[in-house]
């Protein structure tokens, strides 16, 4: 999909939960500096894919290469310290730590290159930058994270991940449970982070429209397999994508209205 060498390359990965095969031979590539979206219905295996990449679950087979070196079956904290940070589904902030303490926990994954000990200034600067993106976090810096609203917790989870200064940020449904307004806000900040820092982002979304509008490349997953891969612009032109994911019923004939209603309902 891109001429530059891939930052992340997933090849033929298969992941099982006991007897259940959740992803069956998935391959994808994420080129440095891109925003890549993975779309798919509930249960398609998107979360499983991100968790497998981040080391939360071990793949049964396949290769996951990050910066050209295999990382599968390593502990998730070791993978995080390589500069690959996952913001998991459902945010998972530390509820009884303050907002500021939550952000500070993100610094454990800063790489040795970022000089952990003598990096006070760098950490403070990063924190201020995150407060700049999410002013609401600054107002609530001394408050327990468990008392934040869902949207604020999502901001905190992204902020905590950013404190690690990752090279590759994985976001699992950043818009989960957020209002359309807040979803747009989160996506515009994700785009801004990518533009300002050049950080590579791989995200999973239910909100296909927002994802396709903001990402560069897209993959579509169904039942544990990748069924389409292209740039987002190209994906948005495809009839089935328009129909199933954007609810636009491109191939609508006389009965288009009715079909669209039915399909969007099942695919929601």
């Amino acid at each position: 999909m891109s001429v530059t060498a891939a930052l992340l390359s997933v090849r033929n990965v298969e992941t099982w939960y006991g007897p259940v095969c959740a992803i069956r031979g998935v391959s994808l590539e994420v080129a440095a500096g891109r925003i890549v979206a993975v779309l798919g219905a509930n249960g398609a295996g998107k979360t499983t894919l991100l968790n497998t990449i981040a080391g939360v679950i071990d793949p049964f087979k396949g290769v996951i290469e990050y910066r050209g070196a295999p990382i599968q079956r390593r502990d998730p904290d070791a993978i995080a310290r390589l500069g690959l940070t996952l913001v998991p589904e459902g945010r998972r902030v530390f509820p009884f730590l303050t907002v500021a303490e939550n952000l500070a926990m993100g610094t454990f994954a800063r790489r040795a290159g970022a000089a952990r000990k003598g990096d006070r200034d760098g950490i403070a600067a990063d924190r201020e930058r995150i407060y700049g993106w999410f002013p609401r976090l600054k107002e609530r810096a001394a408050q327990h994270a468990g008392l934040l609203s869902g949207g604020e917790q999502q901001m905190l989870a992204i902020g905590r991940a950013m404190m690690a200064r990752p090279d590759l940020l994985l976001l699992d449904e950043p818009s989960l449970g957020l209002s359309p307004l807040l979803t747009r806000e989160i996506f515009s900040i994700v785009t801004r982070i990518n533009a300002e820092t050049g950080m590579t982002i791989l995200l999973v979304e239910q909100n296909a429209r927002a994802a396709l509008e903001h990402a560069h490349d897209g993959y579509i997953m169904e039942l544990g397999r990748i069924v389409a891969a292209d740039t987002c612009a190209a994906l948005m032109q495809k009839d089935d994508v328009r129909e199933f994911y954007l609810g636009m019923g491109a191939s609508a004939g006389a009965d288009g209205r009715k079909r669209r209603w039915k399909r969007t309902k099942t695919w929601r």
């Binding site: 904290d77 940070t85 998972r92 530390f94 730590l97 939550n102 926990m105 994954a109």
Partner: protein, 289 residues
């Protein structure tokens, strides 16, 4: 005056229970394992201390840190080598494993040292201090002072240092801690080591009052009562519960008939579990053991 006297005795024994209960809470929150070998670790530490002081003629002030370090390192190794293997298993596995370990420690000590009780001297033994009208054994003052200092240090460590806050983070959401790059496995070992050292301190403070004896592991049961009374899973609750159980025992020894003193902690345990399972400072949505 007798009331004050009893209160001070109660608080000093209660401080020991609090220390033991605090260690149990720390490991439970970090690894979700209620360590039933904790009392035997305490007992083992008392025997090690005795061996160093009486057997090898080490001065108390050298034997104390040596025992704490030795037991702390052993507990670190225990988590790393054994407990880690059952991570993710149902809680029952942890209960059975630590009960097994408890019996192994008990058996090893009774084979190695024999059944008779012993004692060692501390710099405080046999001295008393007059606090107004009350005469207090220096040993009791040393216990209260040591427990106060250690709890304060622990509090500062857990709330003010990067590592301490990371320990809290890992106990609140282990997966999120892993994903933040925190070395959760190493921290868990560290918490076990810390709890082991706390148990060793409790053993070195308690055995001069009682004796160095296999039955020291019974402190575990008293501390479980303290945990239930204070609210399971709450560190402040462990401290309050420990002090209260110490006080209750102390007063029961004088004002209650016969052998009530020896069982009053268990009576409290059962009554609290039945009528008030959350305990004094338990979390509102806390799990029940």
């Amino acid at each position: 005056m007798q009331v004050l006297q009893l209160a001070i005795n109660g608080v000093s024994v209660g401080a020991i229970y609090a220390l033991v209960a605090l260690g149990l809470t720390l490991t439970y929150k970090a690894t979700e394992v209620l360590n039933f070998a904790h009392g035997d670790v305490l007992m083992l530490a008392a025997f090690i201390g005795w061996g160093l002081i009486v057997g090898w003629h080490w001065p108390f002030w050298l034997a104390l840190p040596a025992t704490l370090a030795l037991v702390g390192i052993a507990a670190y190794g225990l988590e790393r080598g054994v407990m880690r293997r059952i991570a993710g298993q149902p809680q029952f596995a942890g209960v059975m494993l630590t009960i097994g370990l408890a019996f192994m420690i008990r058996g090893a000590v009774s084979m190695g040292f024999g059944p008779e009780s012993r004692k060692f001297e501390t710099p405080f033994s046999g001295h008393t201090t007059h606090l107004g009208p009350v005469v207090v054994a220096d040993l009791n003052l040393a216990i209260i002072g040591a427990v106060l200092a250690v709890t304060a240090a622990l509090f500062v460590f857990l709330t003010r240092t990067r590592l301490g806050v990371a320990i809290q983070a890992a106990s609140q959401d282990q997966l999120a801690a892993y994903l933040s790059g925190i070395r959760v496995k190493r921290l868990n070992s560290l918490v076990w080591g810390l709890a082991g050292a706390l148990a060793a301190l409790a053993g070195m403070l308690l055995s001069p009052i009682t004796l160095v004896d296999i039955s020291l592991w019974f402190v575990l049961l008293k501390s479980l009562a303290a945990l239930v009374l204070g609210g399971f899973g709450s560190a402040p609750g462990a401290i309050v519960g420990g002090l209260l159980i110490g006080l209750i025992e102390s007063f029961a020894g004088v004002y209650a008939p016969g052998a009530i003193k020896d069982v009053v902690a268990y009576i409290v345990l059962i009554v609290v579990l039945v009528v008030w399972p959350r305990g004094l400072l338990g979390e509102a949505h806390g799990r029940r053991v």
